[in-house]
Amino acid sequence: MKFELDKAQKDIQKAAKRFAKGEFDKELALELETTHTYPMDIWRKACEEGFIGLHFPDQYGGSDFGQLENVLVLEQFCQRDSGIGAAMLTAPFACEIILHHGTDEQKEKYLNQVTSGEAISAGAFTEPAHGSDITSMATTAVKDGDEWLINGVKTFITNAGICGFYVLLVQTDAEAGHKGQSMFIVDADAPGIDVASVGEKMGLKMIPTGEVSFKDVRVPASSLLGVENKGFYQVLQFFDESRLGVAAQALGTAQGAFDRAVEYVKGREQFGQKIGKFQALQHKIAEMATQLELARLITYKAAWLADNKKPDAKLSAMAKYYAGKIASEVASESMQLLGGYGYITEFEVERFYRDARITEIYEGTREIQKNIIAGHVLGRF
C-alpha cells in the first residue's frame, strides 16, 4: 500500500493551487457573490489551462487524467474559494454521461464545447415532484417521426440559463417506471425552453439554480443520449462518479474554512494569550484536522478505485456523505473559532459555511447516501 501521490498528481495539485491563488481574488468573489454573477472569465481561463474536464480524453480537449486528478484540482479550488471552486466543479456537470454513453458525434460536439470554454453544461434530473426519488419522471419525450417531443418541468437545475445545453432525464415509456426513462442532450436555445429562478439560495450564490420548463421542445433523434429506456441506470452510474466531485468540493471547502480559523487562533489574543493556546480550542482544532484527514483519505481512495476500473458505489457514497458532513461541521466550528468576526462576510468563513451546507443536499442528500451505503452493507436479507 502506497499513500503517496505520483509526480504528475503533485504537479497538478500545485498548478491548481497557484492558479486559484492567482485568479480567485477575495474581493472579486465577494462582488460575484453579492451580484449573483457567474465567474465567466475565471472559468474560461481554467478551460485554457486545462483544468475543466482534465479527466476527459485528449481528443475531447481533456488531458486523459482521471477522477483522482479532478478531485485534487477541485479540492484546491474550493480551499481557496468555496464559491468560485463550486462554479468550476459544476461547469462541466453531467458531461461524464456523454463521455460514457454518447455517440462519437455527441462527444466531439459537446465535450469539446465544455473543455474549450465555449459552453457550460447542466444536468436536468430533478423535478418538482421527484427529488431524491427519480424512479419516475413527469417530464416526457414522445417520438414524433424522426424527432422527439419533450414536455415537462425540471427544477433545482444548476447552471440553468447560462448553460449551452442540458443533459436531460425524461420518461419515454410512461408505463415502465424507471425502466422507461431515457436521456437527451438538448441545446439550451431550443424553442420551447423557459427558465425561471428557484429563488434566493443560502449559498453558491454565483451559480444560477433554476426551474427549466420544456414546452413542445423538438429535438432530433440524434439527441438521444445512450440507450433508450436505460436513462435511469445511466444517471445512477453518473452519480457514483459525480459524488467524488462533490466530496472534493466539501473537502476543499472544509479545509479552506479550517485554514482561516487556524490562522485566526494563532493571531488573536484574549485573556493575555493567543487563543490557540487554550486547550479547549486546541482540541477542537485536533478534531477538525482529524475529520479532514479522514475525508481526504476516503475521497482519494474512492477516486483512485474509479480510475483503476474498480468503481465502488458504496465508497463513493461514503466519501460524499462523510466529506459533506464534516464540511458543514468544520465550517461551522471554524466560524465559531472566529467569534464575531466569523459572522462577518469580509472574513470569508461564513460564506464557506453557507457553501458547505449544499454538499449534504445536492447529488443525493446525506440520507440517500446512507441508503446506498446500508444497501451495500446489508445486501438482500
Binding site: K7, A8, K10, D11, I12, K14, A15, R18, F19, G22, E48, E49, G50, F51, L54, D58, S63, D64, F65, E69, V73, K266, G267, R268, E269, Y341, I344, E346, F347
Partner: protein, 262 residues
C-alpha cells in the same frame, strides 16, 4: 537562440511558521511545501518569451536532490524544451560558489546565447550565483533586469540601480542576466503541459559527469560556513493591529495622530 535558465526549488514559508530544528542550522521542514523560487519563475517566463519571439531552445537546469527535479518538470510543463538535473550526494552543503562551479561545469562548451537566473533565491537571499557563474564562464552580466530584449547578437537590458533609478545597458551575447520579479507575467503551468511531460525522464549529471573534484563542491568545498540560524528577537516596538480593514485603518490613524506621525 540557445537559452539556459538556472532555477531552484525552495521552501514556501509563506503559509507556515518558521521553526529552527535541533541542530540550530536548519529549519524544521515537516510542514513545508516546496515550489520554484519566485524570481526563477520570472526568469523561465523571460526565456520562453524570447524563444517564442526568436525561435531556438530553452534548457532549464537545477542543482539539488532528487525531489528538486519537480521544478524542472514544472519548467518543462511551462514550455522549456530540455532540462538537466545536476545531482550528486557530494553536492550537498554547497555554498553559492560551489553551486556556481557545478553550473558552470555543466554549461561549459554548450552553445549558449543567453543564461538567465532569478536575481536572488527566497531561501538564501545572497544573490551571488548568477554573478559567480558569469565570472567562471567569462561572460558579461547584468543583474536585477526589469526588461530584456534581444536584437541579433545584442541584448538590451533595463535594470534597477540605486536610488530607485533604472539603467539601460546593451550586452554582447552570449551573456548572463539575472531577472527581477515583475519583468513579465509568468504563465500558469497548464494541465496539458503537466500531461505532456509526465513521462519524461530528466537526465541527471553528477560530480564525475561534470569533471569536478568532489572537494571543490559540497560542504567540503564551501567557503561560507553557516554558524547559526535564529529567528530575530521579537521587537517591542511592533504592534499588530487587529480587526476589519476599516477598524485597522482607524486604529492606525489614531496611533499616528497620538505619536505625532500626522
Amino acid at each position: 537562440m540557445d537559452i539556459y535558465v538556472c532555477i531552484k526549488r525552495v521552501a514556501d514559508t509563506s503559509e507556515v511558521d518558521i521553526e529552527i530544528d535541533r541542530t540550530g542550522l536548519a529549519l524544521t521542514e515537516d510542514d513545508f511545501s516546496y515550489d520554484i523560487n519566485e524570481w526563477d519563475n520570472f526568469a523561465v517566463e523571460a526565456a520562453l518569451q524570447l524563444k517564442e519571439e526568436h525561435g531556438g531552445k530553452v534548457t532549464a537546469l537545477t542543482v539539488g536532490i532528487e525531489d528538486d527535479e519537480e521544478v524542472l518538470r514544472r519548467a518543462l510543463a511551462m514550455g522549456c524544451d530540455e532540462a538537466l538535473h545536476l545531482s550528486d550526494p557530494c553536492f550537498e552543503g554547497s555554498d553559492a560558489w560551489g553551486i556556481a562551479q557545478i553550473l558552470s561545469a555543466a554549461l561549459k562548451g554548450k552553445p549558449l546565447d543567453l543564461l538567465l537566473f532569478g536575481t536572488v533565491s527566497a531561501d538564501e537571499g545572497a544573490g551571488q550565483t548568477g554573478g559567480f557563474v558569469a565570472g567562471l564562464l567569462d561572460l558579461p552580466m547584468v543583474s536585477l533586469a526589469t526588461s530584456l530584449k534581444v536584437n541579433g547578437s545584442i541584448a538590451t537590458v533595463s535594470h534597477e540601480v540605486e536610488g530607485g533609478l533604472e539603467r539601460v545597458r546593451e550586452l554582447d551575447l552570449p551573456a548572463v542576466v539575472t531577472v527581477q520579479t515583475g519583468i513579465n507575467e509568468p504563465r500558469y503551468v497548464s494541465i496539458r503541459g503537466i500531461r505532456k511531460v509526465s513521462g519524461i525522464e530528466i537526465p541527471v549529471s553528477g560530480v564525475g559527469d561534470l569533471g569536478l573534484d568532489p572537494n571543490q563542491v559540497g560542504a567540503s568545498g564551501a567557503r561560507v560556513k553557516l554558524e547559526e540560524l535564529f529567528l530575530p528577537p521579537q521587537g517591542q516596538s511592533a504592534q499588530m493591529l487587529e480587526g476589519s480593514d476599516d477598524e485597522i485603518i482607524d486604529k492606525l490613524l489614531d496611533l499616528l495622530q497620538e505619536n505625532g506621525g500626522l
